[in-house]
């Protein structure tokens, strides 16, 4: 029914898709799997009309089509359930199902035909097995129910191909069962489904075929009979399992930080216990949503801990705010640099010295010359490329911005640095500099916890790798045990 061939898509600096083939038959459930960044979402966004491919053709029922906009996509009978649900919490169920194509009456007044949208949404809700009143506001529904509302919306538009991007990532087990049932029903009604998921056991149960992408290319395909957990992991990881490690016999010190049975707000039912030695880089791997960032933010005091304790050099510390953490030499380089790391409208100088202003001030009065000198020193040390320290931080490149976030902490006395996706969106050169910097900090005795979704980054830099899955620590691998397959197996466990 759908046939995509030779699809390529390039973004500045990256090739997201490189002549990818992808097809879906009528009433077929195709699972699309791959590591983070393998190109799954880009491929589906092309179908949804969000991106245009640079090359390649799309055929629907044998006819060539081009999809220029989400509206085109809907016209061809393609519906997408995005990972972030696109429902409006303050409208009721019926209004959400018919959003943007409300039937009207009253001629030029264009009043919403409320009776019609209610009766019709009731029918379509029944098809997805959701028994709630169409009058309920969306905010009163659970995530799973909201998702069903989105599916109902797609069905009410006579969708022939439904794309589901990580539909179960925030569902409980029983809700997942329900969703699997809905997908099975859709299939028997002749609707085709593209199912993107990291949960391989769901795919084992559900998929008629599995398409694996890796680094923007087709990595392989499995027919129904061949679908197995291990086969999928192998194809996802794929490349030669070369050793990335320079033989780096860094000697570690004593345990610097110990996390004892920590519980975070996102996964209050699970505890995580970990320890990091001084001079060690501990990689934390896992899929998106595994609870890694939440762990780092809890240690840094952004979120209150729900339980457990943090020991620093053997002493229990009470961290209630980032200020408490900073005072003890625990620093976070956050995942979302522009949102939580940087004051984009302020100068490089003002950013770099923000947490350490007390060092450049007497009685609350900033000594401008000292501050400037220190900022210039930091820029030189970290090779931050900027016209001057007075340049606005937001105008610099991603790599330089990340170095500014790092520079904030380096002029203090770090004992533990938590890196969350340290090189996301950064060019190769700056990446290498940041890796060198991490290693240098470790050799100076700093304990480093590095959260990353980039497998090469994890394998190339970590002394040990902790792997998390949905709020639980599923394993800690010593360096000798670290392979992509081993990490991936724990990450999807």
């Amino acid at each position: 029914m759908l046939e995509m061939s030779g699809i390529s898509k390039r973004f500045p600096g990256v090739t997201a898709l490189d002549s990818v083939q992808f097809s879906v038959g009528r009433g077929e459930v195709v699972a699309l799997v791959g590591e983070n960044g393998a190109g799954k979402s880009t491929l589906m966004k092309i179908l949804a009309g969000i991106y245009m491919p640079d090359a390649g053709t799309i055929h629907l029922d044998g006819k060539p089509v081009s999809i220029h906009s989400p509206r085109d996509s809907a016209r061809f009978g393609i519906g997408t359930i995005h990972q972030e649900l696109e429902v409006i919490d303050t409208l009721d169920v019926a209004a959400n199902v018919f959003l943007g194509r409300e039937p009207v009456w009253g001629g030029p007044l264009r009043l919403v035909d409320r009776r019609k949208i209610h009766t019709e949404s009731r029918e379509v809700l029944a098809r997805v097995g959701l028994s709630v009143s169409p009058d309920l506001l969306l905010r009163d529904l659970s995530t799973a129910q909201k998702q069903l509302v989105e599916i109902a919306r797609a069905l009410s538009q006579d969708v022939r191909l439904l794309i589901m991007d990580e539909p179960t990532s925030s569902l409980t087990l029983s809700e997942t069962e329900r969703l699997i049932q809905v997908v099975t029903d859709l299939r028997s009604n002749g609707v085709s489904v593209v199912y993107i998921s990291h949960r391989l056991h769901e795919i084992e149960r559900l998929a008629d075929r599995v398409v694996v992408l890796r680094d923007g290319r087709n990595a392989g395909e499995l027919r129904r009979a061949e679908i197995a957990h291990n086969r999928m992991v192998q194809l996802m990881v794929g490349r030669d399992l070369k050793t990335f490690y320079a033989d780096n016999s860094s000697t570690h010190g004593a345990v610097r930080m110990e996390l004892r049975r920590l519980r975070t707000g996102r996964y209050p039912a699970h505890t995580v216990s970990l320890s990091i030695e001084a001079g060690e880089i501990l990689g934390v791997a896992g899929l998106i949503g595994a609870g890694r960032s939440e762990l780092a933010e809890a240690v840094f005091g952004v979120d209150r801990l729900r339980g457990g304790e943090i020991l620093l050099d053997g002493v229990v510390v009470d961290i209630r705010s980032p200020g408490d953490a900073i005072e003890r030499g625990i620093y976070l380089v956050p995942e979302d640099r522009r949102h939580s790391g940087l004051l984009t409208g302020m100068s490089v100088r003002e950013n770099v010295t923000l947490p350490s202003l007390s060092r450049f001030s007497s009685a609350g009065w900033i000594r401008r010359a000292d501050e400037s000198a220190s900022a210039q020193l930091s820029c030189a040390e970290l090779k931050i490329k900027t016209a001057s320290v007075e340049t606005k931080a937001g105008t610099l490149s991603g790599g330089n911005q990340q170095k500014i976030v790092l520079a904030k902490w380096l002029s203090l006395k770090p004992r533990v640095i938590l890196f969350d996706e340290p090189t996301r969106g950064i060019d190769v050169g700056a990446k290498a500099e940041i890796y060198q910097l991490m290693r240098r900090l470790a050799s100076e005795g700093v304990a480093i916890l590095m959260i990353s979704s980039d497998m090469e980054e994890i394998l190339g830099n970590s002394d040990r790798v902790a792997v998390m899955h949905e709020g639980r620590l599923t394993g800690v691998l010593q360096r000798s045990e670290c392979t992509e397959e081993a990490v991936m197996r724990l990450a999807v466990a």
Partner: protein
Amino acid sequence: MRKELGILTLLAVLCILVAALNPQFLSSANIQNTSRLIGTYGIFSIGVGIVIITGGIDLSVGSMFALLGVLLSLMLTQWHWPPLFAVAVVLALGSFLGGIHGFLITRLGLQPFLVTLCGLLLYRGLARYIASDAVQGFGAGAGFEWLRDFTTGSVGRVPMPFILMIAVAAIMWVVLHRSVYGRYLFAVGQNEEAARYSGINSRRVIASAYIISGFLAAAAAILLAFYTNSVAPSSHGSFYELYAIAAAVLGGCSLRGGEGSILGIVAGTALLQVLRNLVNLLDIPSSLDFAVMGAVILIGVIADQVLRSKR
């Protein structure tokens, strides 16, 4: 500095224009009166400007003038409190009300617009109730002559409110542009989350801005009460919060927070007062007062936006 230069140029052009059209503008009586108003308005505009720099807004100052003015009159003429004590109580009360705003905004997470809008309604109502809706005066000033003379007097030929405003501006300039605390004010206004991730206690910083605004509003309330010499609780100070907001925005403060300067706020205040003066001196019907101001602010903001998008 670009914005400050822009507004200062506009101010200069406007002054020259008015002076050319009506030499009365440069008479010492007119200059004294205008600078007295600039002084009084400047003091509370600086407070509101600081709140705006943290990304908030303070709509309550106009009603605070009525409430504090009524109370000041009662303290001095009815209760015969020592003037110095009365002044201290008014200043403390203004800071306290600001503190409540700050508490509600940072601890309960209410929106600044709503909290201070409720303040605007609440204080106005309280002022009218306390004064039984009657105009409160200061009579002959028996017992507090020196206070009246101080607030309405001059040093040489420079009116006291203007001198006080310069002092406040100088202090706040140091605080805002040279102190650690001032840097934090800008930082929380720019990006509260990033400020928090840098270890700044953003709630305390934001709450303190409302306390400063309350304190400066109280100081202006005293000057204003003696300037008008009578407090009509239903109209005294009404709309004054909008003068402050307009001055801050004209002077380069962004309502999104994180931008602004003391010099800009003072220049913005001066511009607004010169505009009002212009309406008087050029025989424009005084009913057009607000319309002239609205038009000038709009033109200024449009010009700024056009210049910005051209760059």
